[in-house]
């Protein structure tokens, strides 16, 4: 599978590079991988390599980062990645039961993808929003708070 960073992604990465001192473009690798993932849906080895090439760093350096941080998807995911926090503070206000409900509705468990490729379900660790439990993050960036069964129904319906 070939991959190349599109113009918008390249420009976005260059804006990140500018935040760091001369010669420290490698500091932008986290943002670079996030941007490549947004463009492609998940991080193929080619996408990781493209980010490394753009930053002029060894591909292995980018690969190490991509595999260390949980929100990079180095395996294919569905169109919508649903992450439910089940850590203790959330679980006390229904985080775990919300996750059960999503599993039941989608017919999949954690780290699985629906057969139609629409949803991937992930178990989240503390997102730093425990007062909003149950909390769900869609595709890494969209936070959904106080997810009752009704709101979960509405969210899943909305994500086509």
């Amino acid at each position: 599978m070939t991959f190349s960073l599109n113009e918008a992604s390249r420009a976005a990465i260059d804006r990140e590079v500018a935040k760091y001192p001369e010669g420290q473009a490698i500091s932008a690798v986290m943002a670079g991988l996030r941007i490549a993932q947004e463009q492609n849906g998940w991080l193929t080895p080619e996408a990781i390599e493209a980010v490394a090439t753009h930053l002029n760093i060894p591909p292995m350096a980018a690969m190490e980062v991509a595999t260390f941080y949980n929100m990079y998807d180095v395996k294919p995911v569905g169109r919508w990645k649903i992450t439910v926090c089940t850590n203790l503070p959330c679980a006390l206000s229904g985080g775990e039961q919300a996750a059960e409900y999503v599993k039941e509705k989608l017919g999949i468990g954690f780290n699985e993808t629906t057969a139609d490729g629409r949803f991937t379900l992930k178990e989240g660790e503390c997102m730093g929003v425990c007062g909003d439990a149950p909390a769900i993050i869609v595709n890494n960036t969209r936070l959904c708070s106080w997810m009752s069964r009704e709101k979960i129904d509405a969210l899943l319906d909305e994500l086509k």
Partner: protein, 444 residues
């Protein structure tokens, strides 16, 4: 939506109306006057450090280290690259206060960081923001653009020849990056694996240069201290515990949320502010300082005041001020199982006692919870926990060990019951009802 009005607040004060996060609203509330005061009156870094020392401000990130003292460690005699770094990687389970500062009052953090930059002679700063709150990372970037356009950061600030620029860096799902040296590695574009200390960041920090790292809430307290004086800040709290503190309250209360109160406020008062126990049920246990702090039984907690010294005397830590409240429907074994899973999952894998030990802890608590515990498991658990604590590069090992040791210490009979009877004292349907989806308090 706004932060709830709270007359005791100073960091989350005056946040009514929309767009409280914008620079216009901030300036209307007196924002950037502390930075202006310093630059226009020519207050020296030594004078500012003295004020911060007088304030008894202690770091809000977990360890409670005195901020004035930390700032005085930075080498100030030689001109060189130095950095100030803000830790907004809030991922300690139960903690969600920095999020509200960034959500409603990001310029307060920017002003605090600019003052820190002035004090320590740093020309550059970074704010490391938890990846899971990505929209607030974007908001912070917008706030930075506003501050830069208004001349509060950048070159020649307020025409006084002081240069300080500030940038945002986002995390992407690694609890360990809240540890300060892992955070620095992460800004440098590497895996977030903590460094050996010494050398401490004040001598060898970001890109090998002297660096000061503070928590978001710590920086946020600085402008008030400059405007009102260290003594006034100190007087808000109690000796050695200056100021207000933002508590994140989660779990079985009627109104989970963020509450800014003076340090030294009784726990019972905080509990009342949260609307009391959910469904009027009985308090069983509290983790008073984030999931890494030892758990305390409810009755001990009811005698505590919310400050570093009182909680430490009771055998726990104020930590990040994350108060996790558990009522009588809670199974302590199941709760510990979930926490142990977290530390196992988040161990960076660098040190063997933590990488392997957290897995042992999780698997043993898991088997007790699932009716396969053995009578000697409790002693083995305690032993494994003791063999992790103090034997790792960073404090994640301790953070994994404290919950295990404290849960067993205070709730041993419940663990023994699980081992003997293969199930919990609290019936499963009671547990489920107690921890059902609870959103009734939400303003949504």
């Amino acid at each position: 939506m706004n932060a709830p009005e709270n007359p005791q607040a100073i960091l989350l004060a005056g946040l009514d109306g929309d767009n409280t996060w914008g620079i216009e609203h901030y300036i209307k509330r007196g924002g950037y006057s502390a930075l202006r005061k310093i630059l226009e009156s020519g207050m020296t870094p030594e004078q500012i450090i003295a004020e911060v020392k007088k304030s008894d401000l202690r770091g809000r990130g977990g360890a409670g280290f005195p901020t004035g003292l930390k700032w005085s460690f930075m080498p100030r005699q030689f001109p060189m690259d130095k950095y100030v770094v803000c830790n907004s990687d809030e991922g300690e389970p139960g903690t969600f206060k920095d999020r509200d500062l960034l959500r409603y009052n990001p310029h307060l953090v920017i002003e605090g960081m600019a003052i820190a930059g002035y004090v320590m002679g740093c020309t550059r700063g970074y704010n490391y923001i938890h990846g899971e709150i990505f929209s607030l990372y974007q908001r912070f970037e917008e706030a930075l653009a506003e501050a830069r356009a208004a001349g509060f950061i950048g070159k020649n600030i307020l025409g006084k020849g002081f240069d300080f620029d500030l940038f945002a860096h986002h995390g992407w799902g690694a609890y360990i990056c809240g540890e300060e040296t892992a955070l620095l590695e992460s800004i440098e574009g590497k895996k977030g694996q903590p460094r050996f200390k010494p050398p401490f960041p004040a001598s060898h920090g970001l890109y090998g240069k002297p660096t000061t790292i503070n928590n978001t809430e710590t920086f946020a307290a600085i402008p008030w201290i400059i405007n009102n004086g260290g003594e006034a800040f100190q007087a808000l709290g109690k000796p050695n515990n200056g100021g207000t503190k933002i508590f994140s309250v989660s779990g079985h209360v009627n109104r989970p949320g963020v509450y800014e109160i003076p340090l030294g406020t009784p726990f019972s008062t905080l509990l009342e502010m949260c609307g009391g126990m959910r469904g009027g049920r009985k308090l069983k246990a509290v983790i008073p300082g984030g999931s890494s702090a030892p758990v305390l039984p409810g009755d001990i907690m009811m005698d505590c005041t919310m400050d570093y010294d009182s909680i430490s005397k009771a055998g726990s830590m104020l930590g990040s001020g994350a108060v996790i409240v558990m009522d009588e429907t809670t199974c302590m074994v199941k709760s510990l199982e979930r926490l142990s899973y977290f530390y196992h999952e988040e161990s960076c894998g660098q040190c063997t006692p933590c990488r392997e030990g957290t897995g042992w802890l999780y698997r043993m608590v898991h088997r007790i919870e699932h009716g396969q515990g053995r009578p000697d498991d409790l002693d083995t658990l305690d032993n494994v926990a003791s063999n992790i604590a103090g034997r790792t590069i960073c404090a994640l090992g301790d953070a994994a060990a404290f919950p295990v040791k404290s849960f067993i210490k205070h709730f041993r009979s419940e663990f023994e019951y699980h081992v003997e009877h293969k199930h919990c004292l609290v019936p499963v349907d009671v547990q489920r009802e107690g921890s059902r989806i609870y959103v009734e308090h939400a303003a949504c």
